[in-house]
């Protein structure tokens, strides 16, 4: 047991994927094996860290032994732990999926980049230092851009270029905010800033810059313009990573700052964010409905689901935060399954025109089942994880008395239902253009189904997950 409680699992989570990346880079012929070994070991480390944290409570780790404000601190509470867990789960699934998806020529580039992305995500979720967050944000952004460009097509390259510029722009806005905060308070540690921050021009400017920079990276409507192209032109496992994790990482930073650093909740601003979220739900849903390509449809669905995450801001209640966080987790898993399913379909038919799906249902039944199950979670039908999240959100809405958000919630659910059924409907029909199918590796299909079932299973894990979220009270103390 000592092994579990005494090892520095926090650092292992960052170092393991980093060493994995280096190993995949050095011995690119064995990249797949090395990558899978790393993936499994990261998952085991996350489990160990969870046990450690459950036993010893929240964890603050002073890298270099200096401690804030001089050094950099890492911090683990329920929020970061769950992000790490969902990253590990999605990560392992994606690793297994990509081990069959990429041809050797691409695989040798893919694996080190993906391992780097994983390291970036883990270090981002662990960091308690706003400048360190900037570095991890850039690490994540560059890895994501390189992964988008991996397919090498003209559209992918253009999307990657645009994504890179946007990502850098967002980061610079964020960094300017960091500069102002540092020079105003002489520290970049989140906990120390939280104690000192008060209303002043520098703080207003800093928050304005940081929030907008992050919104750009999160792709909240109307700043979503870069997302559909980037997420739809990347290779399928990469799309899954981007939608499930990368966008969420920026949201995680925003959530952390909002809950800890920013001085007293600003009502008008939170309403603005809620309003943008609501518009994102409607706009994203309608656009998704009109798409003719499957991956674009799923990408717009991400635009829409991002909107849900912002509904908690005007509610400003613990249960509201928990609801959107739950939604974030279940969306991450469901969206992974959905993009994997789209990847299978693309792999099989060589295209993803929805109208020409050509009886995929009969030929790839496992994939289509997975797509349907993921769709159930996105729609928020019982008993999926999405249902629990929307239920909690509804409860928060009722408690706050702001019933108009409930209308958005329901409209969003109906829109999701509509576009999911649209895809499933076409999956049964015969296409006019015959095409030569390519066999999909069994491994890819089964991983997709497993992840989709997991998205449903999330609905049954509510008590445990909600209890984990309470660790360290990231959303504030519960009144009880």
């Amino acid at each position: 047991m000592n092994l579990i409680f005494d090892t520095h699992w926090v650092m292992m989570l960052i170092l393991l994927p980093l060493f994995g990346a280096v190993a995949c880079f050095l011995w690119s012929r064995q990249a797949v094996t090395l990558g899978l070994i790393t993936a499994v070991s990261v998952l085991l480390s996350v489990i160990a860290l969870t046990l450690q944290v459950l036993e010893q409570g929240t964890l603050r780790y002073a890298v270099g032994g200096w401690g804030a404000p001089l050094g950099i601190d890492l911090y683990v509470d329920g929020l970061s732990l769950l992000m790490l867990i969902v990253t590990a789960v999605v990560g392992v699934a994606i690793s297994v999926y990509s081990s069959a998806y990429f041809k050797p020529g691409k695989a040798k580039h893919y694996w080190p980049l993906w391992m780097f992305l994983w390291a970036a995500l883990n270090s981002l979720f662990l960091s308690a230092d706003i400048f360190n967050l900037y570095v991890t944000l850039e690490l994540m952004g560059l890895a994501a851009v390189a992964l988008v460009a991996l397919s090498g097509s003209a559209s992918a390259l253009a999307a990657a270029m645009r994504y890179l510029l946007i990502s850098l722009l967002g980061s610079l806005f964020y960094l300017m905010g960091v500069a102002l905060l540092y020079h105003a308070y002489g520290t970049v540690d989140i906990a120390l800033l939280a104690q000192q921050v008060e209303s002043s021009p520098a703080v207003w400017a800093a928050i304005g810059l940081m929030v907008t920079g992050l919104l750009l990276k999160i792709a909240l409507f109307p700043l979503h313009f870069w997302l559909p192209a980037a997420h739809s032109s990347a290779p399928a496992p990469v799309s899954a990573l981007l939608s499930a994790l990368v966008v969420k990482a920026s949201f995680y930073i925003l959530l952390r700052l909002w809950l800890d650093v920013f001085p007293e909740a600003n009502l008008a601003l939170s309403y603005l964010l809620g309003l943008l979220g609501a518009s994102a739900i409607i706009w994203g849903g309608i656009q998704a409905l009109y798409q003719t390509r499957l991956k674009l449809l799923i990408a717009y669905s991400t635009v829409m689901q991002i909107g849900y995450l912002f509904l908690a801001f005007p509610l400003a209640s613990i249960i509201g935060w928990k609801a959107v966080f739950y939604l974030l987790l279940s969306h991450a898993i469901a969206k992974t399954a959905m993009f994997m399913a789209a990847g299978n379909i693309l792999f099989y038919g060589g295209h993803d025109q929805i109208a020409d799906l050509d009886r995929v249902a009969q030929r790839l039944p496992i994939t289509l089942t997975a797509f349907g199950l993921a769709g159930i979670s996105l729609m928020g039908l019982p008993p999926s994880g999405g249902f629990i999240a929307k239920w909690l959100l509804l409860e928060a809405i009722i408690l706050s008395g702001q019933w108009w958000w409930a209308i958005i919630l329901i409209a969003g659910g109906l829109l999701t239902g509509a576009y999911v059924f649209k895809v499933i409907g076409f999956a049964f029909t015969q296409a006019e253009v015959p095409h030569e199918p390519r066999m999909v590796p069994k491994r890819m299909e089964w991983v997709t189904l497993t992840v989709a079932v997991l998205a449903i299973m999330l609905g049954f894990m509510a008590p445990q997950l909600l209890a984990l979220m309470d660790l360290g009270a990231p959303f504030g103390e519960t009144m009880s």
């Binding site: 850039e138 560059l142 097509s153």
Partner: protein, 103 residues
Amino acid sequence: MINTIFLYALAGVGLFSLGLYALIVHAHLLRKILAINIMGSGVFLVLVSLADRTQGIAPDPVPHAMVITGIVVAVSATALALTLMLRVRSETGQAELLEEPPK
């Protein structure tokens, strides 16, 4: 003394804004990449100049270290961006983002 420090910081803001403007209005990707770099320089200037408000003793070294970190990040990103631009050009024949809205 104080005035010059703030003057440098304001110059940083100026660079940041100029870079932002250039980033939006120029279509050519090379200009956009340069514009991002100029914006970055603006941020670095703000960071580094305000570190010297220590009244006599040596300036605060932490922002300096941050700037060095930031510069390396900027260099890396620029390198990636330039290569990407070359690839975009060799695939599409022009170094611009194609999806500009119809005027």
